[in-house]
């Protein structure tokens, strides 16, 4: 009589490709082994409790409001060409020309005068062309004065010319 000692058995659970354990291997119980005597059960109990805790946890249901600013009373933004919402305030309020208060009306964090640096950069960038235009016999003196102003600004930035 032929003796059946096992060997490769295709129907065995470990050969079922659909039988995959989360801890690796096929057809395994998923229990950890290899810890010191008495610790395997403790570790596996902790794993089971952890899995149960995770299974009972529910993802937060999305509950974002339809409008993130709901409840905040904000005026609707208009376009550049809409009529002013501050009809009593001149358009030049806050600048040093035209009607209305000048730059002294601005808050201090808006008072940082960057125009000197800005003018120096403009002088460097455009001065060659502007100076050439100023040489034209049709160039008005008012334009030449402006070019002179930029020349002085450029010299402030770069004293060596």
């Amino acid at each position: 009589m032929a003796e059946n000692r096992g060997g490769m058995r295709p129907t065995a659970p470990q050969n079922n490709p659909a039988n995959v354990s989360g801890t690796g291997g096929a057809g395994q119980s998923g229990n950890y082994t290899g810890f010191a005597y008495g610790q395997n059960q403790t570790v596996n109990n902790q794993r089971i409790e952890g899995n149960q805790a995770m299974a009972s946890a529910q993802a937060a249901t999305p509950s974002a409001p339809a409008s993130p600013y709901e409840g905040i009373n904000m005026p609707q933004l208009g376009t550049l060409f809409d009529p002013t919402t501050r009809p009593d305030e001149p358009i030049t309020a806050g600048v040093d020309f035209g009607p209305g208060p000048g730059s002294e009306a601005l808050s201090k964090n808006l008072m940082n005068n960057t125009r000197i640096d800005e003018n120096a950069k403009i002088a460097q960038q455009y001065l060659p062309d502007l100076a050439y235009a100023a040489k034209s016999p049709d160039a008005p003196d008012s334009f030449k004065r402006f070019v002179n102003y930029l020349v002085e600004n450029a010299q402030v930035m770069n004293p060596n010319g």
Binding site: T92, F97, R115, Y126, D141, F143, K144, L150, V151, N153
Partner: protein
Amino acid sequence: MVDAAWAPGSLFDNIDKFANSLGYQNAGIVMELSMMSWKSTDDRDAFITSVTGQDPQGGTEKNYIKRNY
């Protein structure tokens, strides 16, 4: 013959008008506004008047250049 670069509404004409109307210290704004495409010099001058409350300045004197560039 008039230099085309100085025709009314040209870039240099715009620079002259804006610089003398808004102030030399506002050179940044002057250059930005001068490079805008204005429909006409009337539109540009109306803008200057609305901003400054005065007629556009500059562009009336045509004398010699006072400085060697």
